[in-house]
Symmetry: C2
Subunit: 191 residues, 2 copies
Amino acid sequence: MTATGTERPLTPAGRRVLDTASRLFYERGINTVGMDLIADQAGVTKKTVYDRFGSKDALVAAYLAARDRRWRAWVGEYTAAAEGPRERALAVFDALEAWMEGLDPRGCAMVNACVELTDPDHPGLRVAHEQKRWTRELFLGLAAEAGAADPEETADALLVLHEGAVVAYNTAGVRTAVRTARRVAGDLLSR
Amino acid sequence: MTATGTERPLTPAGRRVLDTASRLFYERGINTVGMDLIADQAGVTKKTVYDRFGSKDALVAAYLAARDRRWRAWVGEYTAAAEGPRERALAVFDALEAWMEGLDPRGCAMVNACVELTDPDHPGLRVAHEQKRWTRELFLGLAAEAGAADPEETADALLVLHEGAVVAYNTAGVRTAVRTARRVAGDLLSR
DNA sequence: AAGTAACCACACCGGTCGGTATACTCGCAG
DNA sequence: CTGCGAGTATACCGACCGGTGTGGTTACTT
């Protein structure tokens, strides 16, 4: 309830809890981080955590939603700054590279959530899936705008490159994965 | 110790444990499956599990190693059956598509392990990373064989497409992701 | 002055986690 | 016939899991 729907400004303690939870969930994984640890690290009692967020599931969903919001804004800046349809599509990869530069070796939080949250009804899964749907729609619009022969097919390809770059970077240690993906995407949009 | 190193033929109960654990770890996630559940489902006491595998970490590593062995053999069949260097490279994507056809919506076990296992010293991580390293080497050899201008760069691109296809399929619901990845890979190898 | 939202401290709940200990039975090889 | 590996059954361990309840203290409204 509190998670994604309403945009209540969050109390100071609530903010601290969400920030702390975000860091811990991302760095150590959702399932391995307990509510006790989050409360402790946030300098807050567990009671306060449950007063603000209601349940761990809701807190997880809030974490994912906040991160999603940040990511969309981040990408928006890059695509807005780019000139021309082809460059706007490639700007998504620039955004990704800059985003990942921030020392994360832990991959995409949404993908991780899909792996960690086994229960198909978990509220966090909807956030994760929605973000991937959004990304595909973004690519679809950009592909069409760039005059791709088959925008749907091109959007799929761009999404594959996008997701693959993150995974290749994080699990196979391919440090140049994003740049490689961008190059292939560029070829794709040139034909 | 017992996990990856030696190839002890596994006792009947040990087999049952490993098979059960493999299914549960993959379907429900490593962290959410307890040793009690594995023992129960395998029709075995927890004592037996620990007698055979020593620890959960070792059992996890054994699960990943077994799955890795199966995957390599699977890919080997496809690449061996293909004619010509270009087709051999694309055969990896055919292998992937056929592999995933087996009703899994849970993605790559190695990638999942990288997400779930936070401890950098976990023995399962080495198995997972080694499999990705192997896959990249496979692509590197095939790219060179196919006469790619820059085999390293091409191998990276093929790996990105490979990993991205699985993720796009499982988290974004792009059902044709593997075929799309294969098509882009084909373009890549034609130039 | 009264009410209320936000927080604190702390104690507690049933259940599960990974892992161990003890003691016993079975089949098989020396 | 004896020893041993493989397996059974059961009970236990401390730690942690998500979550609740009680009671009290601020601080800002109305």
